[in-house]
């Protein structure tokens, strides 16, 4: 059975838990099976937080996973702490402004200006988590842009929908540009 594990890791308040739920809901909308696991400290903001999403073709006996296929790192600490969990050949996507350096390892790692781009378009960095999902969808194809858009529309209210859909577009664009650059570089 095909099984992919995505880990969103950052600090409390960045929306990694909500981001993971949106990703799993998008997978469900595509007819896939998904489960979510969350871990965070007692702090309301600022402590380490992470959300793991397991996506599979059908129900899994045991969805708990040790190894991660894709890591979205939203703080330097998260990159340091979770890069070792990425499987060989896996993917690490980090935000340029928040992660100076992804620890070297047997995976493909990219830093992208996700938060900066979201701020340029929307004047706020709040929906950076949703933009990260856009990058993920474009780079990995694990979920479609349409399914993510539907998950956003079902989850947020009026203004939130518009803002988060724009953030999703920003992420999708960054992801597509990255793929185009990689292709051009051969």
């Amino acid at each position: 059975m095909n099984r992919s594990v995505v880990r969103l890791a950052g600090s409390g308040g960045q929306g990694v838990v909500l981001g993971s739920v949106l990703l799993a809901e998008a997978a469900l909308r595509q007819g896939k099976w998904a489960a979510c696991f969350h871990a965070f400290g007692p702090e309301a903001r600022g402590g380490a937080a992470r959300g793991d999403v397991v996506i599979a073709d059908g129900p899994l006996d045991y969805p708990v996973s040790q190894e991660v296929d894709v890591l979205l790192a939203l703080t330097q600490e998260a990159a340091q702490r979770h890069a070792a969990s990425v499987r060989p050949g896996g993917v690490v996507i980090a935000d340029t402004s928040r992660v100076r350096e992804v620890p070297p390892g047997p995976y493909r790692a990219w830093r992208l200006p996700v938060y900066r781009s979201v701020r340029e378009v929307l004047g706020t960095e709040a929906p950076g988590n949703v933009a990260c999902l856009g990058v993920l969808a474009a780079v990995t194809g694990l979920v479609t842009a349409e399914a993510l858009g539907q998950a956003v529309r079902d989850r947020f209210r009026r203004d939130g929908v518009a803002q988060n859909l724009k953030a999703l577009e920003v992420g999708l664009r960054l992801g597509r540009e990255l793929l185009a650059r990689e292709e051009a570089a051969g």
Binding site: V21, A24, E25, L28, W33, A34, A35, C36, F37, H38, A39, P59, D61, Y62, P63, V64, Q66
Partner: protein
């Protein structure tokens, strides 16, 4: 219309309770059970129910017992430290024969322990935590959908046998989100206020006069004749007695009222046990790992099966003993140092070998750990599978 959606285990618990007609919740929040309280606080007012945050866990269960006597299906949820405090009133509810549901989402103990880490260390406390001899029902769901179903079933069992029922699951099952089919909130709202119907009473009401092995349905306070409820040993009328004949008879009947399988949907799940040479016994999230381990063992040519109890107490003795007539080896997998394994050993130890695989470090048992133990106890891997790497 019920629909498939991504649901957290503790949310499914609240929905299961509400769909069964639970309209009273009294509790004191504690990790990893707090989401049950959060959901009940949000949802109960919508269905005409009552949510009370109490000063502690002793008061929480006391309030549930009172609400139940008043005709409301009632529930509380907690974790290890709070569950310990509830033992006094669990014993009271068992002796006074007042239905109620207690959810225990297990974290690593003892004491304050490791609050956010999963464990299965409350299995014996759930059965024997209060003093004296008393009956107890403990249900053990292994996934989000089953948390919904077994929580709902807990209320039926509690009313049918007039007994407290514990719904026992680990932190992983409580916090994980996976697809489940739950009713829409609008359906629950439409069902509105729900009260346990009081039976019609002709003449004197004897709340402890058993018929066909079970106590009569409870008359809600205020809806019929007055009666006496006490934690003292009592006669059929509910008033205290010290007559050895009455005391002995009362306790004999109390402790004999539960059947092994207290409701139709609570039979154990058997996977690939037909031709099995070794059967893994597991419950909760560990049963999910065990199921994966059994599948991998089969791929390696080992005839492995799974026995997954949905009811831990009373233990499914008949089903386990029946299996021990055909299976020579049991491996009990638990996130404790072998609590339910004692029961398996008691039930089948005369006829079969019982081995254990335990993990008590705050992380769930993996399929690999269970598979390795299965391969260890079954001896050399059959030649067909020799040389194959353990997945």
């Amino acid at each position: 219309m019920a629909r498939l959606r991504l649901v957290r285990g503790n949310t499914a618990c609240a929905y299961g309770a509400l769909s069964a007609g639970c309209r009273f919740y009294a509790g004191y929040p504690i990790t990893p059970s707090s989401e049950v309280a959060e959901e009940m606080a949000r949802l109960l007012p919508r269905v005409g129910g009552v949510f009370v945050q109490m000063e502690d866990e002793m008061a929480s269960l006391a309030a549930c017992i009172g609400a139940s006597l008043g005709g409301l299906r009632s529930m509380t949820a907690t974790s290890g430290p709070g569950f310990t405090l509830m033992q006094e009133h669990l014993g009271y509810a068992a002796l006074a024969e007042i239905p109620c549901v207690v959810v225990d989402v297990m974290r690593l103990g003892p004491s304050t322990g490791f609050p956010t880490a999963p464990a299965q260390g409350d299995v014996l406390q759930a059965r024997w935590g209060s003093h004296g001899d008393y009956p107890m029902v403990v249900l053990a769901p292994a996934g989000v959908q089953e948390v919904f179903e077994l929580t709902a079933a807990a209320f039926e069992v509690a009313d049918r046998f007039r007994t407290p029922v514990v719904v026992l699951y680990d932190e992983v099952v409580g916090h994980m989100m996976e697809p489940a089919t739950l009713p829409e909130l609008s359906e629950l709202v439409a069902s509105g206020k729900w009260r346990r119907p009081s039976p019609p009473v002709q003449g004197t009401y004897l709340p402890y006069a058993y018929r066909e092995g079970t106590p009569p349905p409870l008359v809600s306070f205020g809806e019929g004749p007055r009666y006496h409820v006490t934690g003292l040993i009592h006669d059929e009328s509910g008033f205290p007695t010290q007559d050895p004949d009455e005391v002995g008879e009362m306790l004999r009947r109390l402790n004999g009222k539960l059947p092994e399988i207290p409701a139709g949907q609570l039979h154990p799940e058997l996977v690939a046990t037909g031709d099995a040479e070794v059967v893994v016994v597991a419950y909760g999230i560990t049963a999910r790992a065990a199921r994966a381990a059994v599948r991998q063992a089969r791929e390696l040519g080992v005839r492995a099966g799974l026995f997954r109890p949905r009811v831990l107490w009373p233990s499914p003795a008949t089903a386990l003993r029946e299996l021990s007539g055909r299976v020579g080896m049991f491996v009990v997998a638990e996130m404790n140092f072998g609590q339910w394994a004692r029961e398996v050993e008691r039930l089948v130890g005369r006829w079969a070998e019982v081995a254990t695989v335990n993990q008590v470090d705050g992380t769930p048992l993996s399929p690999q750990a269970i598979l390795e133990r299965v391969l260890e106890v079954t001896g050399p891997v059959p030649s067909a599978a020799a040389g194959r790497k353990i997945p």
